[in-house]
Amino acid sequence: MINLLIAIVIGILILIMAIVAIHNKNLVVGIIAAGAVSLFASILYLLLAAPDVAMTEAAIGSGLSTIIFFYVLNKIKKQNG
């Protein structure tokens, strides 16, 4: 039961973060929010008894891909001036 509650809360958080990621004007915030979505998602995976997936999501979804986003953003900003 507690798992269910946690899942609901996390789920809501995920959705909020997702909306932030999409609708925030600031790209940096957006990217971080997207990373956060992945992070929360990995928690969901844990709840769903999928530690492997959780690890992967945490490492790749919220870790590496966020970093790649930032690299690209960074580069774009630099080119801009």
Binding site: L15, A34, D52, T56, G61, I76
Partner: protein, 123 residues
């Protein structure tokens, strides 16, 4: 509340995330935002997949002290969707990285991140 089980909550979360992702992909004019939208869409699908593999009140598909080999079939969740998701996540990363590389190149060419500025080829 009684119908609401864990996997259904996560399934709904996944679907909602997927829809938000599509929404972002379709409405945001910024290329990076579009990629973010795509990443969310992907994550949504992954959550759906894992939810589908879940079996009520069971543990991870790892055989150890807690889960003896002879009772595994009653104790663990379905490993197959998890395996698939693993693959899917990595594929998703590859595609995201590729998209971002393209975005970067496109930006270098036109100094713009507006999708509307990349309509050179049409009809």
């Amino acid at each position: 509340m009684e119908n609401l089980s864990l996997e259904i909550v996560t399934l709904i979360t996944g679907i909602a995330l997927l829809l938000i992702g599509i929404w972002g992909l379709l409405t945001q004019k910024n290329l990076i935002k579009m990629v973010i939208g795509f990443a969310l869409f992907d994550t949504g699908i992954h959550i759906i997949m894992v939810s589908i593999g879940y079996v009520k009140n069971r543990t991870a598909p790892i055989l150890d002290q807690a889960v003896k080999t002879n009772q595994a079939a009653e104790k663990i969740v379905d490993p197959v969707p998890q395996a698939l998701v693993l693959t899917a996540i990595v594929i998703g990363l590859g595609i995201t990285a590729l998209m971002l590389a393209f975005v970067l190149k496109m930006y270098q060419k036109k100094k713009s991140l507006e999708i509307n500025n990349f309509n050179d080829l049409k009809w």
